[in-house]
Amino acid sequence: MSHHDVSYLAPKETGWKTIWSWIFTVDHKKIGVMYLAAVLLAFLLGGIFAIALRLELWEPVKTLADGTVTGQVLDLGAGATANNWYNRAFTLHGTVMVFLFIIPSIPASLGNIFLPIMLGAKDVAFPKLNLFSWYVYVFGGLFALYAILAGGVETGWTFYTPYSSTTEWGSVTAMVLGAFILGFSSIFTGMNFIATVHKLRTPGMGWFDMPLFVWALYATSIIQVLATPVLGITLLFIVFERMFQVGVFDPALGGDPVLFQHFFWFYSHPAVYIMILPGFGVISEMIAVHCQKKLFGYKAIAFSSIAIAAISFLVWGHHMFTSETPAANAIFSALTFLVAIPTAIKVFNWIATMYKASIAINTPMLYVMAFLFCFTIGGLTGPPLATLAVDIHLHDTYFVVAHFHYVMMGGTVLAFIGALHHWWPKIFGKMYNEFWGMMGCTLVFVGFNVTFFTQFFLGTQGMPRRYATYIEEFTSLHQISTIGSLILALGLFVHLGNFILSLVSGPKAPRNPWGGLTFEWEADAPPVEHNFPKEPVIVHGPYDYGTVTPPHTNPGEFPLNDERPSA
């Protein structure tokens, strides 16, 4: 069925064959699109939980003198208290967002679609394993969905023992098994990407000819393959403890609860870099293209990804500054500062790339700038948490919640939405509406900052995280935060509407609307089944902007270095 000139999205002769061609596809682009649909659904689900918990925090629950209760928003009956609904909402928000959305978000969707194309390959190294990983993801997701429908979980996404291993409430075992299964999907994708990068680069493409998105995915994959098994076995221990009373973490059975924290963060801290590194990758791509500028310090950015991946394995202890001994804390505090250095270097490089560039103002570039703004705040609020004396105060408060969201949402998610706009024309062959794209970006940016900047103050003022209710002093800051979250949600729905309209009635996209130089802009929009009619040849570097005219663009559309309009 190899058609050299037919879009990968083209329907087959009959409806059944079309469905068949999707669910049994080994085409990395189709698998990427299926991942995209799945992770966006997970994002919607996690977002619903987020809005639910922000609404519950509008005001503290209060029992008046006459016995009436005010401030209880989440009350779906069933005899559960407001606490219980809130605890389920924050746990499911975290679990769904982390395991079902943000970990697979960029690598499994955009990475799957563009990694092989950027290398000039026909597909990933193991196409069937790629499809299998999608089914494993869906199977793990169904487990999680079952756990939600069977009552939910209220242990927090971190599943801290002995609470998680002893609580009789909810379906902890099913949720933990769901996360365990999802881990395999992540490992398979990682293995596939590593093999692809090593073996399937088009002839002549050296390591330093690779786009930085590929470098970032490579670093991510290494972490996925090395760290995820640790999470897997840790989660299994919880299941064993719950089902067979094997004492690993529960002191009542002879276990050690802090051991769980070590195991858990040995995975989950590197996992934070699984989440953010792909975001760094897409930002590098977008900033170069939309600035028409060679990336400043290509090698520094590439090596900093690898450095971050390596150091990320050595900082897990900073999640335990209030539970561990001073000697351990001192070491982990120092190592944590070490990981901040390569991250800072990346930000400097991106901003330096804008110097003397030709900067387009469009949705992807707005997202790049929104990312730089929010991620810089996220990055700069890391040092107070790495500093031992200060962290003792801020640990497990809203300051951490805000910092985490500035990095994950302000970093990865903004990069992801920007990248969706950037590559949308290539994936689906349709343009989106630029005005509504920029409008959505503005709403998301404003809403995000109103929601989460407020939470830095909540944190320094002493508001602990994971609180279903609170003392009245914190009410006004919580209300500002909730208003922000609604603006943020509105912005996201603007994007959703814009994307749907684009699919339904968007104008056909040109092959290279932004003037990109990496291989995906050589391909058709959308690409043909095997990406390229014949194996592409590398004739210039991925970021030789200003010296190479981008392929498939109109003459004069993307002028070269120092070109001026002829009078």
């Binding site: 209030t322 560039a357 103002i361 730089l372 002493g462």
Partner: protein, 400 residues
């Protein structure tokens, strides 16, 4: 009460008027000996970060404007890397990070070692509440509503170190007193300690009320909160920290060390102080555990044992006693196996007090009057016994 008591209040109201401190710390600075040092490191990092942020964002906005795309104009040529620049922007943050690390470590170490002359308080955390046992054996009998539940008021002396030796009865908790800038996790399998020295007096001991009362309506005292998620009522594990002058602190402690009331009042107090209230309502409302209202002598269905009905009161009292001391034995249908054993935590009189108090919640008016009579008779006998023996020894023994 003397006039110097009001000085800290004036100082704190001056701070409250400071918008900046209000924004970051709710106006409470310098509440403990650690607070100023930690806040100084925080603001060092803050100002350095703000400087970097302004420079970076300034450049970004400047570049986005100055080099915006114009029809027909290409980018200007410029170097795509610059070793000197790249080394500079690697070295400068590294030096700043080193300063932050060293300063943070230096500030953190003293928090780890409590002075040997500290006032020692034993802290037990449980789902969901706190029990502080002072060196005299006293436990608080004072409560105020925080986050919609009666929350304990814990007094600490001003101007001298206090060391908390903490353990958990069930899952991991964490003690956090934000205004003191201290926090430490609490585990079921080991002791951890936390120490602080309070620097601002917030309360005085009111002889008449027999309670610690806030000096100023603006400052109701500091708060203790749990910062390690521990289940359903994690967000309702607040406690009030009342900082008092030494004499007031000692008077408060002495008052909290005695309880002179009758059995049913003792039971009612224990319902709050021992944490029963977290899971068992006394007004019929739904909580994690069954309510105590109107269940006296009612037949019970269990998930792990055959159902029971109670022919006489001794049988029922035995069932209740067992439920308190060995709660896992019979799990009431519809409720989780959640409760921890109170073995060794209640005196005989306290156990009796709880049972009599439960009986006063019966739906049968005869039970209620019988319980009140039992309570009154015991009180009479106690008073008679006490006048025979010397002073209040018996009462002191009872509470220890």
């Amino acid at each position: 009460m003397t006039m110097d008591m009001f000085q800290p209040q004036q100082a704190s109201s001056m701070l409250v008027s400071n918008v900046w401190d209000d924004l970051w710390w709710r106006g409470t600075t310098g509440a403990s000996t650690f607070a100023d040092g930690i806040d100084t490191i925080f603001f060092f990092i803050f100002w350095v970060s703000l400087l970097f942020f302004i420079v970076l964002m300034g450049l970004m906005v400047l570049f986005a404007w100055a080099y915006r795309r114009r029809q027909g104009y290409g980018p200007e040529s410029s170097a795509s890397h610059n070793t000197t620049l790249e080394i500079t922007w690697t070295v400068i943050p590294s030096i700043l990070f080193l300063i932050m690390f060293l300063w943070g470590f230096k500030g953190y170490l003293p928090m780890q070692i409590a002075p040997s002359d500290s006032e020692v308080i034993n802290v037990s955390a449980y789902q969901w509440g706190w029990e502080w046992t002072y060196d005299t054996g006293a436990q608080t009998q004072q409560f105020e509503v925080m986050a919609d539940v009666p929350s304990p008021v814990f007094a600490v002396p001003v101007g001298r170190p206090v060391k908390l030796i903490m353990s958990s009865r069930d899952v991991i908790h964490s003690a956090y007193i934000s205004q003191f800038r201290v926090k430490r996790d609490i585990f079921p399998n080991k002791y951890t300690t936390l120490w602080f020295q309070a620097e601002q007096t917030t309360h005085y001991f009111d002889e008449e009320a027999g309670e610690a009362l806030p000096i100023s309506p603006d400052n109701k005292g500091f708060h203790l909160a749990c910062t390690e998620y521990c289940g359903d009522q994690h967000s309702q594990m607040w406690g009030r920290i009342a900082v008092m002058a030494e004499a007031d602190y000692q008077a408060w402690k002495a008052k909290m060390g005695t309880f002179e009331g009758p059995l049913h009042e003792l039971g009612k107090l224990l319902h709050t102080t021992k944490g029963c209230a977290a899971c068992h309502s006394v007004d019929g409302s739904q909580k994690t555990g069954p309510t105590w209202q109107g269940v006296w002598m009612e037949p019970r269905e269990f998930t792990n044992a055959p159902g029971e009905s109670y022919a006489d009161e001794t049988e029922y009292r035995n069932y209740m006693r067992e439920s308190i001391l060995e709660p896992h034995k019979k799990i009431l249908a519809g409720y989780p196996n959640q409760m921890q054993s109170y073995q060794g935590q209640l005196t005989d009189r306290e156990m009796l007090g709880l049972l009599v108090y439960m009986k006063t919640l019966s739906s049968n008016p005869d039970d209620v009057s019988a319980a009140m009579a039992e309570s009154a008779a015991e009180m009479e006998a106690r008073e008679a016994g006490e006048s025979e023996s010397e002073g209040g020894e018996a009462a002191a023994e009872e509470m220890s």
